[in-house]
Amino acid sequence: MATTVQDARAAGLELDVRNAAHRKHPWRWLSALVVLVFAAQLVKMLVTNENFGWDVVWAWLRAESIVRGLGITLMLTVVAMVIGVVLGVLLAVCRISANPLLRAAAGLYIWFFRGTPTLVQLIFFYNLSALLPTLNLGIPFGPVFASVDTNTLITPLLAAILGLGLNEGAYMAEIVRGGLLSVDPGQREAGQALGMKNSRIMKRIILPQAMRFIVPPTGNQVISMVKATALVSVIALSDLLYTAQSIYNRTFETIPMLIVVCLWYLAVTSVLYVVQSFIERHYNRGARHQAPSFWDFLRIRPKGLAA
């Protein structure tokens, strides 16, 4: 009983979209099958390939030296990000200030630190003593009040903090500036008309609104920073990667140790991802669009999209 167009028109008034047959998705089933085959392959390799050395991975995963290396990595991330955010806010405020000298100075800083590789900056700070044997506090061409030997001051740890933090400041400055500029100028005017001081307007009106635009990219910066700290292994600072390297240089268990490193980085970045989603929801108060919930990735049909 083939239905003709004529029949559909005749029956038109009794039909209801509620009872409509759903579209079939044969390609989805086919692609799911392909993915399953690849996944099975991957599982087989993980289980049967002895080069992974899962027993070695498990043994080293919670070894004291590795955990201490992880601690250095986390500490570096936190300190470098704090320096980066504080510096970034200062630079961003300078970049949009009315003072042309401040604008130019901040622009120059950002140009330099964004224009050279982080790795080069790290090595540069590590070798600072070759450029400046002593660091002096005083008046140019005048008296020196205090002087310190660069080699004793700039330890690998300080070189790492300076290299990562000053670099991050340049990137954060652009993020913060973008956030500040995204707030409607009428907001500042409303604050001014109420007799509020500029510092208060910035703190209570502009920054809270700019945060919606600053937080998501800053979360990405933190996650990038966790991984960027691995660069400090080139200046012999015993972070997670350097600790693992010094172990496999001794035991030649290169792949298992690198897997240990990857598992820890994944664990840390996963936690950060959850934290970021909660912070984003907080700063979205009063906004039209709610930030996606962390669990949204588990949904088969995305929320808010016509399925």
């Binding site: 409607d184 008309a193 109420l194 007799g195 001081k197 500029n198 609104q209 009063g286 039209r288």
Partner: protein, 254 residues
Amino acid sequence: MSTAVLQARGVRKSFGHTEVLSGIDLDVTPGETVVVLGPSGSGKSTFLRCINLLESLDAGRITVDGRDVGYDVRNGRLHELSPNEIARRRRDIGMVFQQFNLFPHMTALENIVEAPIAVLGEGRREATARAVELLAEVGLAGREKAYPRQLSGGQQQRVAIARALAMRPKLMLFDEPTSALDPELVGEVLATMKRLASAGLTMVVVTHEISFAREAADRVVFMDAGQVVEQGTPEQVIDNPQHERTRAFLSRFL
């Protein structure tokens, strides 16, 4: 003279090579409602923004309650004030914007109490009690916890009026307060403004609502091309305009 809340003398302002204000003189006495009419680009909004120094003046002088907003008089000369001192002098001048400019991350109540607490140093309890009263006064009792985007345009503008009133201003400036509203929401905002006018608030209102000018204004000022063309009672200016430019402008509303 010294009884005037607002005194403007020879106010000039240019943006680039375009002169927007070409010598404005205006006095507003306590309790008076002055409605400024004029075609778009006549400089009326710029003049209003000069009063609380959202725009700086190029020449002339504006005093509010006998003091310059941006300057101190010392030894017979005007001296520029610091941004914080200017902020202090803006307290007494309320302003209502065309686009409302409510703080979107704060509730209606938080919008209203922010400045009294931060600027006037009022206690939170006292400021909150007064904010609740003011919301009721503009017909929004019970909407304390609403965020601006949950309110209609007319409701947002009435919250903005309450926010300005919370500072107990000596002078209120309205910059085209109904121009961004859907036509059916204009009435509620104008009704609120009429109540304030009859309650004796000193107001300068820039608007295109001729009916509001007729019903609420003590004086109507007609501006064109950066100058005050004529002023007088609503009957004089709206019903019996003396100048050709005023007649041409008003004819579009008949």
